[in-house]
Amino acid sequence: MIEFDGVGHRYGDRVVLADVTLRLPQKRVAFVGANGSGKSTLARTINGLVLPTSGRVLVDGVDTARRGAQVRRRVGFVFTDPDSQIVMPTAGEDVAFSLRRAGLSRAERARRAGEVLAEHGLAGYADHPAHQLSGGQKQLLALCGMLALDPDVLVCDEPTTLLDLRNKRRFVDLLAGLRQQVVLVTHDLDLLDGFERVVVVDGGRVVADDEPAPALRHYRALAG
């Protein structure tokens, strides 16, 4: 369960989030909004990448500002651009990098990394240079890097923006099959089948919060 309690955030004088109060028990939640609406900032408060300047965010009752490390162990985060998320030269090493702090031996880490890659359509790529993978494969690798840690929540910030239609569908199908609670920030409205709840953010505020169909009607009306 993710709870936003009167969350506000500003950069200097610029207000990016104002008075957001939400309780998200659903397994599949999407944040939708225009560029600069504050939806990415809102998503970043879930794992404490952004600490709100007012209010608080709780993940399963744990405050992101007080127990950031504990929250990040439960919350995985996938960014838009996998290139900035992939830190090791080969796919296997990158996934193993996530497991470094799990206290596993190097051989154990490599084995586990290979398994995670194989489970998500990257079997045989463990020794492949990570930056020579296709865009779709890179985003899968970024996802594997997070899933290796087996979080309870997965926040994805426009993960499909750089992907072609086929890879988009593949990525979203993969998300659909996960046991994790998924919070998806997106512009791709046609990828929201199977989502239980859509939160529309505009000007740093929640302007609609509903099932996908009515929420998206509202969003389309906003876009004019």
Partner: protein, 213 residues
Amino acid sequence: MNPLGLYEPGTGPLHRAAAGPKLVGVMVVVTLAVVLGEPAALAVLCAVVAVGYAVAWVPPRRVWRLLRTALPLLALIFAVQALLLGPLPATTATLRLAVAIGVATLFTLTTRVDAVVTAVERGLRPLRRFGVRPERVGLLVGLTVAAVGTLAGIAAEVRAAARARGAERSVVAFAAPFLVRTLRHADRLGEALTARGWGDEPDEPGVSAARRG
């Protein structure tokens, strides 16, 4: 793609050797190259490194790409040194550099970064009592190696963009976007590391990498 310093999967004896001793071996060879002043001795050292490539079964196309990058650089250095200091010092300096580049590249070709990081962490563990954090130094080494590839990639893209606008000779058209993209990459990398739990000591208040969306 960067021809230097990328792991080449393989099963030869150098691939199987532990990263720690290999790293020590690299240091020994480089130290010898600095200490030895005789071109003949340096040439022998060069030959030893070359034998290393054969033993490691590095594919010829990798060796070729490596030579294509390194030889012009070495030729340039030889020319400049020969002009300024004379042929003998130039030969010594160039051979030294060839040994150093050759042995360091052989190391990265046959050693996974993950293994290097682990070896550094293990090697520095005794220094923990002096306040050194081995896992941080290990991460630094790993990220440094990864950064070579990333920066080369950004540079290539920025150059292509400058060319598309017909500004390939402009320093500003290269430097400004290169700097901006590098800094932005650093920002995002920081966020990604934080999201993966790096920088989290057992429960201190979270570090904020404030960004808007």
